[in-house]
Amino acid sequence: MAVGCVVGLLAACGNSTSSTNNSGTNTASAPGITATTITIGSTQPLTGPAAPGYSEIAPASNAYFQYLNAHGGIFGRKITYNYVDDGYNPTITASQTRKLVLQDKVFAIFSALGTPTHLAVADYLNTEKVPDLFVSSGCNCWNDVSKYPNTFGWQPDYTIEGKVLGQYIKQSLSGKKVGYFFQNDEFGLDGVKGLDDQLGASSIASRQNYVPTNTNVGPQIAALQASGAQVVVSFTIPAFTALALLTAAKLGYHPTWVVSNVGSDVPTLTGLLTTFSKGAVGGQLLGGLVTDTYLPLISDSSNPWIKLFKGIHDQYISSLPWDGNVLYGMADAYTLAQAFKAAGRNPTRSSFVKSLESAKLSNGPGLAPFGYSSTNHLGYLGVQVATIGADGTETTAGPVFTSSDSGPISQYGGSASSPPANGIP
């Protein structure tokens, strides 16, 4: 059926689900959209402190778009993905975003990576009314419909993640002393907010933070050890998860580590641990680590989404490792394709945003549903806890939980979906 839709583009497939006019011919309906192409842009840390791991995300999205283009595109249009390096430096993000909007005339900014970097341009993009889609950051700042009407998050926000992890600690690691180690910005602080909501702020043995520009985390880890914390929740980017684990191992400190999703990708961490310790240790430090996920696990080769994306990876970007970053890039590219499909044949910037608020996209590869509505610009609303075994294999534990920043946690009853046969929405 899905193949039929793509082949017979002019046959009005999906008319029943969309109010927009899908029949007719392609027009250059908005900046960045021609009869045959859609151009979108992004700023990514291809170099600099956040590059390890994260620099794979945009090439992975691009691989999905190449696959999509080879299979007929969206309403016959091919997607051109113009991603540029900002070195995780907000000032460069600011100038590169203006280049994408003013010179390259992109239809939308897609998957721009980083909280400090993207905060630098969110005002600008909304003033210019450029759709600002699926920011690669779990800051809840993107869910501010009155301030940023054109900005949409994608991954679960860090507060929701903190709440679900906090609930797990309360239930499965009860009675143990808990300490925090977090990045001293919106990322870490949002996560801590969610954790405190579940664990109670007064019960925390020690709260330690770091800034990404200072790689010496010795004092913080020593303070956690001195506080007697038996569980350390770590809202860290991969490099700092690795530094924390290594420093703790050196000090002979072995708490149960609970690490946020963005800092827990097993292949990335194994590589970093090996590099930082000059080969002395590797993935064995990850045994027993608790984390969470909102996408299927990369090791779950029976999952149809993993099969699809792994196949695209092998075909288009086989030089990159198959890891969580690549999965992330492909999954959010899939969501963008869904959104374009829902927006109809000839969208404008504002009709696209309206459609995303009302279309109720299916959750695609995600484990939890999307939150998109006219009052909510959050992406995935929930996560599932996962643990890493001594051999490095990740397994999910318990059900998927959804929540919001202020609401209660509830168990998600929906079932996982399967991709369309040809892999495009």
Binding site: L46, T47, A51, S55, P59, V84, D85, Y88, N89, P90, T91, I92, A94, S95, R98, K99, L102, Q103, T115, P116, L119, A120, V121, D123, Y124, T127, N184, D185, E186, V211, P212, T213, S319, L320
Partner: protein, 361 residues
């Protein structure tokens, strides 16, 4: 009485009128240019103007007073944070914001200038280097005031209503930055032709000789530092408007080094060279990233290639034109003049052109 007459005649001296005329010509040309080009070109032109303000100030300090500063990026940060803090809760006119930023950076410049005047060569470079490394950390340490790593966002200046509703905000900012650059360079060019300017150069060339000639060496050095810092403050304030965000990562050590690179590549000791250097700073990286992406290389190489090409271009440029762009242009002009039988500097006989690096001993 005589002094008053002298001062009066200096106000309408041929140098000033020549500079004024040049500045006016440049302003008109730039105005016409900015109206012809697209919004993104205006945005880049603004960047050139901002860097020109900073590098012109640095040229005064390093090229003409002999004090090497590796901390001008941090001084730009002072101007940028002043602007961002002023605009955080208030709506103020651009002119006011720029002036306050110049003053606040000038104040920091006085403090640092006094320390700098006691130091020489590598010690001075080291001291200013600390400024570049330490000052951005203040922003992360006092997160509540300076916004930490995310920094502070800056409200853009809207073009005035009489320019029409469709007037691009990028062009309006370009006008502001270009006006600031033209005024800064005009004032500096004038200063350099005055007794203060001659004192700067005398101190650079030989401190003992300058002191014997009655010049207060330390005071001259502090003055040069303060003027230079004020320029950096103005550039920083414009930079805040330009990028829309003031964050510590924007004012790293590499910015300070870029400014030094610009004045060397442009032609050390010449204000025109500072402008050339700013053009290089803005346009060469854009060119190299275009080159790298057109080569279709593996991402691990392609990602790092623009910086590598940029570095290679700078090295080759320094090997081929050691006096910088302005030095090379002066030489070409000189060759042209001798070939076509015109004596060099025929317009102002007997005057050594201090702005001409090729004419320096």
């Amino acid at each position: 009485m005589v002094a008053a007459q002298l001062r009066l005649s200096r106000l309408v001296s041929p140098t000033l009128s020549r500079h004024l005329l040049l500045a006016l010509g440049a302003a008109v040309l730039l105005l016409l240019l900015s109206a012809q080009i697209g919004a993104y070109d205006d945005y880049q032109l603004t960047a050139v103007a901002i860097f020109a303000v900073a590098t012109a100030g640095l040229t005064l300090l390093t090229g003409l007073n002999g004090q090497l500063s590796l901390g001008h990026g941090a001084l730009m940060a002072v101007g940028a944070y002043t602007t961002s803090l002023l605009l955080k809760d208030h709506q103020l006119a651009v002119v006011v914001v720029l002036l306050v930023s110049v003053l606040s950076t000038g104040l920091i410049g006085i403090v640092f200038g006094y320390a700098a005047a006691r130091l020489r060569g590598p010690y001075l470079a080291g001291a200013t280097l600390t400024l570049a490394v330490a000052l951005p950390q203040v922003a992360t340490r006092y997160k509540n005031i300076f916004g930490g790593e995310e920094g502070l966002t800056v409200t853009p200046t809207a073009p005035p209503a009489w320019l029409g509703a469709d007037f691009p905000p990028e062009r309006w900012l370009a006008w502001i930055a270009l006006a600031a650059a033209v005024v800064t360079i005009l004032l500096l060019a004038n200063l350099l032709r005055s007794s203060a300017g001659r004192a700067f150069k005398a101190v650079r060339d030989n401190e003992a000789a300058a002191a014997l000639a009655g010049i207060d060496v330390a005071r001259t050095q502090v003055l040069a530092f303060v003027i230079s810092a004020s320029c950096a403050g103005l550039a920083g304030a414009l930079f805040a408007y330009w990028s829309g965000v003031t964050a510590p990562a924007g004012f790293s050590l590499s910015l300070s080094l870029q400014l030094v690179t610009a004045i060397v590549i442009g032609g050390l000791g010449s204000l025109a060279g500072a402008v050339w250097g700013s053009v290089v700073l803005v346009f060469v990286p854009a060119l190299t990233s275009g080159m790298a992406s057109s080569l279709n290389l593996p991402s691990s190489i392609a990602n790092n290639l623009p910086l590598a090409i940029y570095g290679a271009i700078l090295v080759i440029a320094m090997l081929m034109v050691p006096y910088g762009i302005q030095g090379a242009l002066t030489r070409i002009l000189k060759i042209g003049r001798t070939r076509w039988g015109r004596s060099p500097a025929s317009g102002n006989k007997g005057v050594v052109d201090w702005d001409d690096p090729a004419a320096d001993p």
